[in-house]
């Protein structure tokens, strides 16, 4: 690791100030992506600003129509939350399937979506439920948040404060985990709610995306059988040592059918 100065501000205002006064500051939440990156010397920030000391950024609140999760809420807390499990069971299940228990004891929702790894789980829930991301500056709709591979709409000095998920009528999430890391080779999040049907695919392409053909078919008939008529093209999908683009395209169909079955309970 290169040298850096560590800061642990106690408030959002202090965090913003630390970020703005640093030559090349980097936020840290759970550190489960950032610390491995620093260890590999793939990043060389002058300052690391730990969000872990800002109490207001952590916590879960469920009102009738929304589940709000603070940015530094750990995966383990979401997975163990009875409130989340009863409002949006698929979301609690998704959190409980991230990595391993030790990663879930540190990793946070804000860190996961800010990082926007093409194979991460949370981005599919944010996009698949049509959530809203809150920052210290504004609110960003899920459809505008994920802009490309490891890219988001966040400005350099923008800090995610939380995510608000509208409670759907039904939702399901199934992934085919990479057996080593548990990241999604392909994961599909489906939901049916006030905003209609949404289908979000992670792991398959360079960035999480909505599957418009599946959404159209499921809007008429929300059943896994209806998906038989929808093909997924391998064009532009990821190919690596784990799977070819064709294999991933096939998995999108399989995971989507299983996710719909899960949503239909």
């Amino acid at each position: 690791m290169y040298e850096f100065a560590y800061h642990k501000p106690g408030s959002l205002a202090d965090a913003t100030a630390a970020l703005n006064s640093a030559a090349d500051g980097k936020l840290m939440a759970g550190g489960q992506t950032l610390i491995p990156t620093l260890k590999q010397r793939l990043a060389q920030p002058s300052d690391v600003i730990d969000l872990g000391g800002i109490g207001e950024l952590s916590g879960i609140s469920v009102s009738g129509d929304a589940v709000k999760i603070g940015a530094t809420t750990r995966h383990a807390a979401v997975a163990a939350s009875g409130e989340v499990a009863s409002a949006i069971p698929a979301l609690a299940k998704l959190a409980g399937g991230i990595g391993d228990p030790q990663v879930r004891n540190m990793g946070t929702i804000g860190g996961s979506i800010a990082n926007n790894d093409p194979a991460a789980d949370y981005p599919s829930a944010v996009l698949g439920l049509g959530a809203t991301v809150s920052t210290n500056k504004r609110e960003i709709a899920a459809d505008d948040f994920f802009t490309g591979m490891f890219e988001t709409a966040l400005a350099e000095d923008e800090i995610i404060t939380g995510v608000s998920f509208p409670v759907p009528q039904k939702a399901g999430y199934v992934k085919f985990p990479n057996p080593a890391s548990r990241y999604a080779m392909v994961g599909v999040f489906v939901s049916q709610g006030g905003g209609g049907v949404r289908v979000a695919v992670t792991g398959a392409g360079p960035c999480v995306y909505r599957h418009a053909d599946m959404e159209a078919v499921l809007s008429g008939n929300f059943s896994s059988g209806a998906l038989a008529s929808v093909a997924t093209s391998a064009d532009g999908l990821n190919a690596d040592i784990h799977a070819s683009a064709e294999y991933r395209a096939h998995l999108v169909g399989v995971m989507a059918r299983r996710a719909v079955d899960q949503a239909n309970g």
């Binding site: 610390i35 690391v48 030790q102």
Partner: protein, 155 residues
Amino acid sequence: MPTVSMTVNGKSVSKDVEDRTLLVQFLRQDLGLTGTHVGCDTSQCGACVVHIDGRSVKSCTMLAAQCDGSDVTTIEGLATNGELHPMQQAFMDNHGLQCGFCTPGMVMSAVDLVKNHPNADEATIRAELEGNICRCTGYHNIVKAVQQAAKAMGG
């Protein structure tokens, strides 16, 4: 250099360390607690698992500075008055280790898993040990050890 203070295995410690010091370096190099191992250094193997304020974490993927003010337990802190913790005893009784390299992390993860799932069945134990890799045992005897310890720990 900034000072980092924490409680490790019940004792208060305070050291001046660089901000980039990892918790596992702090434990092994600054405190001489070499029971916590480094297997992969890439956050995957779990040999470095310790407890911070009661939660199991990978000490190779945390800064010592992040733990300032925390309560840390390492494998050295499990035995009481020379008597092995039930989890350590169960690993011994069930031949849950061969070379022993993964064992400190395995035991620390297992203690946390039994705390969270006192009546864990075999499938749960295997799923909860997802973050710990063992190249020797094939896991079978580790799972048996955790089952024995869970009973001994009152599950």
